[in-house]
Amino acid sequence: MEQKSSKKNSESEKEYSVIIKNLSVTYRTEPALWNIDLNFPKGQMIAIVGPNGAGKSTLIKAVMGLVPITAGKVSIFGKTYSKNRDKVAYVPQRGSVDWDFPTDALDVVEMGLYGKLGWFRRPNSKTRNLARECLDKVGLSNYADRQIGQLSGGQQQRVFLARALAQDAQIYLMDEPLNGVDVITEKTILSILENLKKEGKTIVMVHHELQTVDKYFDWVVMVNRNLIANGPIKEVFTKINLDRTYQEKQRMSI
């Protein structure tokens, strides 16, 4: 394990946007994540890799408290998630929603602003304009009125990214945003994330294409229920660690 030695709290808060301590998640009696100690450094593109069922999605969901945590603690900029949730944007897996839902692209992007609106306050022309700007950033301003089921998979993924952009957060937690998307979408998403990184924002992405990890990311987290490795790509993205992560299930050559 090549985790950086933890420093004093005040210093590590400056360096890390998310600090995870002794995190365990259990579904019924099945452990999904076991005793994870992990920090996400600021201003980095971070990939989470691991085989199917390794708990990659569970890890980012646990950061937001979307799955019940059995043990451990997560802090976002030194506070609990519920106190700092406006600093976090979330892109769920594309397959997790029903794209036949009666709504259009602009409306979905606007949902990113519902958290800031709070209870009872309705979306208005201001939120509408903000949503339009975000849709424009992902190159879909011409598709604002399109029912979301009429968009291609890549366009749907970009709508999800636009919704996360509307959240205007410091940390972007994304669940396989590059899974099965077209070339244009992949390029658009990466260039937007590159800009966010330059602004000092932290991008954490569940990623399944091992051959692109060293090309796109600065930092890699390798999980298979346990944390296998965590650190800068050059140091930890090695054959040995990959073998340990994927064990017998899958051997990838890079």
């Binding site: 949730r85 769920p92 949902m111 009872f120 070339v183």
Partner: protein
Amino acid sequence: MILEEILSIFLGIFTDYTLRYVALGSAILGITSGALGCFTVLRKQSLFGDAIAHAALPGIGFAYLFAGTKDSLLLMLGAAIFAWFGGMITLAITNTTRIKQDAALGITLSVFFGLGIVLLSYLQSIGGASQGGLDRFLFGQAAALIESDVINLGILSALCFTILILFYKEFKITTFDSSFGQSLGFPIKYLNVLLTSVIVVAVVIGLHTVGVVLMVSMLIAPAAAARQWTSNLKNMIILSAIFGGLSGIIGSMISSTAEGMSTGPVIVITITAILGISFVFSPKQGYLFKHLRNQRKSQISLDNIKTISDKEKENHGNI
């Protein structure tokens, strides 16, 4: 003349005292269940609606057993408590055991409905004629609606719409993408309970008119029909409410033309007819246009294959 006959039936709403309240009560039901049914359908919880409707039946029996009156508000309260309870039990079974939702719904539906039938037959055996009228909640008996009933239904309906308007944004986001809604801080569990509760109220409104057995079609059919015409949630809710209300009015008018024709089933057939028409003729999704749509789809998948193969090429180039 047929035209004159239809006209006289229609005018009956304004002149015939009984028909007026029957039509009004049925319209209130249709509007309420039409609007709320959109969420039932979009959450893929149609059978959940069916289960809570059936679960209401023992509530009516118990309310009568303990209170000894057929006061409609009291019976509705009993029905609401049991419907709500049935819904919560279904959710609890699904969340805490390995039993999947369809099986949990089957359990709730049949156990509660069975209990209701047992209670009703027991009441019949001890009370004789005094029980008469309770079994109308099986298939509804809109013809028995009087002014005070309609006022009660109106108040309940207004309550449902107030909650729907207040929590529209929250209901929408938790229906479309619940984990995203949760990440924004909306308490999806409480919102789900609230939405279920409002649907319970809609079911209770329907007890008098269509009864527990047919209630689910008043939740599903208007919403399914409306979805054929629009791809906007707000419009879908409005259209669904209109379809539901229309079928209530038309159904009660048709049933008034023949002695002893049950209103509830006729309303259900009317909304099903609207659904059938929508399936065939809606410009966006109707069967008539299916051919055209399929052509477009195959074009889209052709494009997709193209982009995927482009990507493959690029990936290979990079390795």
